[in-house]
């Protein structure tokens, strides 16, 4: 087992998410039976069990469910970033995402803050980041 953080791996099952990121879109897996949105991708809907799933672009908006400011980096590759705010964001479309909050001072992130989702390059992948909106 590695003692270092895994590099992000875009498994084939989740490729549409990363292709969406390349295209500037936030995509989630949508159940055609019940309309449930889910991330990460599965073979069936975890809400109803339906197997008819598609990928759909959703509005890249959400709300900060919670956050922290990391002051001690887990690995050397994050050492230059501290202190960095990480948030859990509930997308308006349903699923919850984790990512850095950028575009505001670290001490101005709040629970309930509306944010937009954008993608930025990190470790060879585009990863979700959040920026405050409407304030």
């Amino acid at each position: 087992m590695s003692h270092h953080q895994s590099a992000p791996q875009a498994e084939p099952e989740n490729l549409p998410f990363w292709e969406g990121a390349q295209a500037g879109e936030l995509r989630v897996q949508r159940c055609q039976t019940c309309g449930h949105h889910q991330l990460y991708a599965r073979l069936w809907c975890v809400s109803c069990g339906g197997r008819a799933l598609t990928w759909t672009a959703v509005r890249p908006r959400g709300t900060v469910y919670s956050f922290t400011v990391v002051r001690r980096a887990p690995t050397a590759e994050f050492a230059a970033d501290v202190p960095y705010p990480i948030a859990l964001v509930d997308l308006d479309a349903g699923p919850r995402l984790m990512g850095h909050v950028v575009g505001c001072p670290v001490d101005e992130v709040t629970v309930g803050m509306p944010v937009g989702v954008r993608f930025a390059p990190r470790q060879g992948l585009l990863v979700a980041q959040f920026t405050p909106i409407g304030s």
Partner: protein
């Protein structure tokens, strides 16, 4: 109501030294913990027909329990490696009880040990634990384990007005208890003010809100009720058990302010036919100070959102209504990883036997042990009863 739990008892507990144990490997710590627990039970290695272990982060092997059996030079008929994170001990003890209840085994040892502090080191341990995040959707954000717990704490504060000074008090009370335990890793005085003055690791959690990284091991011996009757120590019965496994990745959890203890706890109480008010002493896994408050609530010892007040009112102190973590808790007794849950079990057993010396809860007859794994993802609750 009859249960598979009726057919077995905990008959032995043991630990190695906990803290920094530089002269011992993970497998040596396993062997020593097993020896200590068997000595406590008055049993010999050849009596053991079931062995359950949970691997080693420092010295990973494919079939861990089989490696331990080989090292011991004893080969029980049932040998199994399991893993449910920090709640592994409840799952493993439940499994052992079921194997005994089914008549497959008569004496089962559950053993766990690791030397994270000296074998891996603090930084490498922190780095290895950061891999718990989903490799594509979470890992790239660089979430440390404290960061993920911190997001739970932040939401708990937001919804319930929980107070970091109460979290700090959990650490103070754990330390007060550890000062009465000769084997605890941290025994120097510690106050809530010290905790609040330590540096922020991941807001709102400070260094002393977080468990240490330790070396050490523990083992618990279960035996059939018939076998238990002939052993020197009074058997400790398991009267209730409950589990809940809600998610693995934090982004897949729903409401982070209510833990799986709200399911595993009531299940254990139902099985035992007891209510929270009837518990004399509790061991509650607190790798981070605030989760003791949340789990006290979810287990039903106080109303939701009242965990901080419950601690502040002195209930969890040795002199209180429900002494909690009389060995010092995860925060002060030590945290070698998966063995930590077994330390909760062994302390509960010692309390129920009346062996807890300076930290004995007078007349303790019922104990609750609760532990969690991952980021509050998996939960296990045991209710134990003495025969005194």
């Amino acid at each position: 109501m009859s249960s598979f739990l009726d057919h077995c008892a905990i008959v032995g507990v043991g630990e190695t030294a906990v803290g920094k144990v530089p002269d011992r490997t993970s497998i040596q710590l396993h062997a020593e913990a097993i020896r200590a627990a068997l000595d406590d039970a008055g049993l010999r290695l050849r009596d053991v027909d079931g062995l359950v272990t949970a691997g080693s982060r420092v010295s990973p092997v494919l079939y861990h329990a089989d490696v331990v059996a080989e090292y011991l030079g004893h080969h029980p008929r049932h040998v199994l490696t399991v893993n449910a994170g920090g709640s592994t001990s409840v799952a493993a003890i439940e499994h052992a009880a079921a194997m005994i209840g089914a008549g497959v085994c008569e004496v089962v040892v559950v053993a766990k040990a690791d030397n994270l502090a000296t074998g891996l080191g603090r930084d490498a341990t922190v780095a290895s634990m950061a891999t718990i995040g989903h490799p594509a959707y979470e890992g790239p954000a660089g979430p440390t384990i404290p960061a993920m717990y911190a997001m739970v704490a932040r939401r708990y504060i937001h919804e319930y007005g929980a107070d970091v000074t109460d979290f700090a008090l959990v650490a103070e009370i754990d330390r007060e208890h550890a000062r009465r335990h000769p084997a605890a890793q941290f025994r120097a005085p510690l106050t809530a003010q010290d905790v609040l003055g330590s540096r922020l690791v991941a807001d709102p959690l400070r260094l002393l809100d977080c468990a240490p990284v330790s070396d050490g091991g523990g083992a618990v011996v279960l035996a059939s009720a018939a076998r238990a009757r002939d052993l020197p120590k009074p058997p400790i019965r398991i009267t209730g058990v409950g589990e809940h496994h809600g998610y693995e990745h934090l982004t897949q959890a729903g409401d982070l302010t209510v833990t799986g203890a709200a399911v595993s706890g009531p299940a254990a109480f139902r099985a035992a036919g007891l209510t929270p008010a009837e518990i004399d002493v509790a061991m509650i896994y607190d790798a981070f100070s605030f989760i003791q408050c949340m789990q006290l609530e979810d287990l039903g010892f106080c109303p939701k959102g009242g965990g901080g007040a419950f601690v502040r009112e002195g209930n969890t102190r040795l002199s209180g209504r429900l002494p909690v973590n009389t060995h010092g808790g995860v925060l002060s007794f030590g945290h070698p990883g998966k063995p930590t849950g077994l330390f909760l079990v062994s302390e509960a057993v010692r309390q129920l036997r009346g062996e807890a010396a300076d930290r004995q809860v007078a007349g303790a007859e019922t104990a609750l042990v609760h532990m969690e794994g991952g980021i509050l993802a998996s939960h296990g609750t045991l209710i134990l009863a003495g025969d005194r």
